[in-house]
């Protein structure tokens, strides 16, 4: 009991960072649109000046999912707005990238928008206080990257009462979907992609033995990732057997410990270990290598630097990339649409599967 209580209290920062920005700590800039917008003078196919630079930058770099959205929303504009952005925290690597992408995109494409950013410090209370301040200031749009999906429902209500459009970026808040905008990635898809990878790359003529390292129980995304993974296998009629499924708490050492024990229990029988994030996957890989084995396929989520290296080295099967830059950019576009009074919507920024084949795009 005491352990649970303390663990809950003390684990605050860690778990919140997992929830709020379940993106890991990759720091590389990807082929994002913000960077191309900045370096717009490159010898791409278009040479237009700043008049419609977004259009040009986007048409050059936009991926299919973005094109569809771009038809519905203005990707640049001159209206004058003031926005308040409650960042999850300034220290979380993944969230900082979302924040930077948004700041850059606003500066480039919505030049008359003032974006005020507050450090949420990964605390629900601070988030609420900052949101209150922004609402009192009467911002045209309130943007939040939440720390806790239930704890921050109150912000929804406050914004609604004040009649201020509300955009949630990265991790959704558990209020009525019709009350707010949501820009983020569907965790179900990340698990599903891992499953698809197995279906396409691992031969199932003989039953494939799978061990699953789950994240911390109690978080929505833990459930969704697991569900997405198994669903993908089941939908494809994949011939597999779930040998074991344990809670690795998103931690490398837990993933390592559990894998060591699995290697004792199932040994050579294990074909695949799928982890709900890269850290646990790396832990599994450590254990596998320490045991002198090499033919177990490991999959993770986050596209962390060391996971990408492992994919390159062939010791990792796949990881899944969560698009921080896409979230920041579309967060800004959604905020602009919201400020104009458009109807609430959910903008899905897709997860992307990272394998040896397409690794180059993510470095």
């Amino acid at each position: 009991m005491k352990k649970k209580l303390l663990a809950m209290g003390l684990a605050g920062i860690m778990t919140l960072s997992i929830f709020g920005c379940s993106g890991g700590s990759g720091t590389e800039e990807t082929t994002s649109d913000t960077s191309t917008a900045q370096e717009n003078t490159q010898t791409d196919d278009e040479k237009e000046s700043s008049a419609d630079e977004t259009a040009s930058a986007d048409s050059g770099e936009m991926e299919d999912w973005e094109k569809e959205l771009a038809e519905q929303y203005e990707v640049s504009g001159d209206e004058e707005y003031v926005w308040g952005y409650v960042a999850q925290s300034f220290t979380d690597t993944f969230c900082s990238r979302v924040q930077k992408a948004m700041e850059d995109y606003v500066a480039q494409n919505f030049p008359n928008v003032t974006l005020n950013v507050g450090d949420g410090k990964q605390e629900v209370n601070t988030h609420i206080e900052l949101a209150e301040n922004f609402i009192t200031q009467g911002v045209d749009c309130l943007i939040v990257t939440a720390s806790d999906s239930n704890g921050e429902v109150v912000i929804c209500d406050m914004a609604k009462e004040a009649g201020i459009p509300f955009v949630v970026v990265n991790s959704d808040i558990a209020c009525d979907p019709m009350d707010h905008w949501f820009v983020g990635s569907d965790h179900y898809v990340s698990g599903h992609l891992q499953g698809e990878y197995l279906v396409e790359n691992v031969d199932d003529s003989e039953t494939v033995n799978v061990c699953y390292l789950g994240g911390t129980d109690g978080f929505t995304h833990t459930t969704l990732r697991r569900q997405g993974f198994y669903d993908a296998l089941d939908e494809a009629g994949y011939n597999y057997k779930a040998l074991a499924d344990l809670e690795g708490e998103y931690l490398r050492d837990r993933g390592m410990e559990i894998t060591e024990d699995w290697l004792i229990q199932y040994g050579e029988d294990i074909d695949v270990i799928v982890a709900a994030n890269d850290e646990m996957g790396m832990g599994a890989l450590n254990a596998i290598q320490a045991a002198g084995m090499s033919d177990i396929i490991v999959c993770g989520i986050d596209a962390n630097d060391d996971a990408k290296e492992a994919v390159k080295a062939g010791t990792f099967g796949c990881t899944v990339f969560q698009n921080a830059e896409g979230q920041g950019k579309w967060g800004a576009i959604a905020a602009y649409a919201a400020s104009q009074g458009k109807d609430f919507a959910t903008l899905d920024i897709p997860y992307e599967l990272v394998t040896a084949d397409n690794l180059d795009q993510y470095n």
Binding site: K3, T91, D261, I264
Partner: protein, 320 residues
């Protein structure tokens, strides 16, 4: 519980000597019967290696608890010290320097704890809660939540290497255990700690330098924590700011299950080893059986209750 054997040996003595070993043996036999993989040599070696970090932390907690204190900071200080050490290793490539930095960081927090507790008379629970917060903040400010990977093999050897069949970290653990045993059994400070835990006023009255002994316990715990942090990061080949969370509770559990009283004055490190091995085999066995860690926590919780209930009952019976 009240009716023990008559004779020279009291129930309290019997329990403190053999009770915990008995529980361990019973668990061990039952687990071996249920799962034959459990008693394989490699698995038992894994278990011992898996309890290294907790056991080293438990050595620090042992001194704290015996003198009636408790340390809540190791879980976060460990992460800070270990990550700092890994960072230093990456930047300088100097293993010796990395070790010094990790141990010094642990010691620093031990000294902070000691200063808060002895110089300002802050209750240990609160003082170490505060230093835990500081360590937590420091590590996040320092790393920004990022980890440090690609550590060189020399560093990783600390956590993953072998000398013969024996894992290197296990050798370190045994050395720390021996040092702890010597401190508690043979040095004036060890005896002072028992006396303080038994009755601080009496200890003070009999001329024991209470503050010095307490300060030493804190500093020693800090060094243990720093060492544990280095070994943990080396084991994962990565400096992980999020690692170690809540490990102080496992360490305290090991000490308490090993029969050390929360109120101080009683306890010995040999039983603590058994305590941490019990935690180790329970976790290991449940992983082997594919039982989720939620249930591991429940079982460990029950274990703490049972250990303390027995402790209290035995003590009551003994004072009659």
């Amino acid at each position: 519980m009240g009716n023990g054997k008559k004779g020279n040996i009291s129930i309290a003595e019997f329990y403190s000597k053999f009770g915990i070993v008995l529980i361990f043996v019973i668990l061990f036999v039952v687990m071996s019967i249920i799962n034959h993989n459990f008693i394989s040599g490699v698995n038992l070696r894994n278990v011992v290696r898996q309890v290294v970090v907790i056991t080293i932390l438990a050595c620090g907690e042992q001194l704290m608890l015996i003198s009636g204190m408790v340390d809540l900071s190791p879980g976060r200080v460990l992460a800070f010290a270990g990550t700092l050490s890994a960072y230093c290793m990456l930047k300088t490539g100097n293993l010796f320097l990395a070790l010094i930095v990790g141990l010094a960081c642990g010691l620093l927090f031990g000294v902070i704890n000691g200063a808060l507790i002895t110089a300002f008379d802050i209750p240990p629970f609160i003082a170490t809660l505060a230093s835990m917060q500081m360590a937590d903040g420091a590590i996040m400010a320092f790393t920004g939540g990022q980890n440090y990977s690609n550590l060189p093999a020399s560093f990783n050897f600390l956590g993953q290497g072998y000398i013969g069949f024996i894992p290197f970290p296990v050798i370190i653990m045994i050395i720390v255990l021996i040092i702890t045993y010597i401190i508690l059994a043979w040095t004036p400070i060890g005896r002072a700690l028992y006396a303080i835990g038994g009755n601080q006023a009496a200890a003070l009255a009999s001329g024991i330098r209470v503050k010095k002994a307490k300060f030493f316990a804190c500093a020693f715990g800090g060094v243990c924590t720093g060492l544990a942090g280095i070994l943990l990061m080396a084991r994962m080949s990565s400096g992980q700011p999020a690692a170690g969370e809540g490990m102080e509770m496992d360490a305290i559990t090991a000490v308490i299950v090993g029969g050390t009283s929360m109120s101080g004055g009683v306890g010995n490190i040999l039983n603590t080893i058994v305590g941490s091995l019990i935690i180790g085999i329970i976790k290991n066995f449940m992983n082997l059986q594919n039982i989720n860690s939620s249930f591991q926590d429940i079982v460990l919780g029950i274990l703490i209750c049972v250990a303390v209930i027995i402790d209290v009952q035995v003590r009551k019976a003994n004072t009659k």
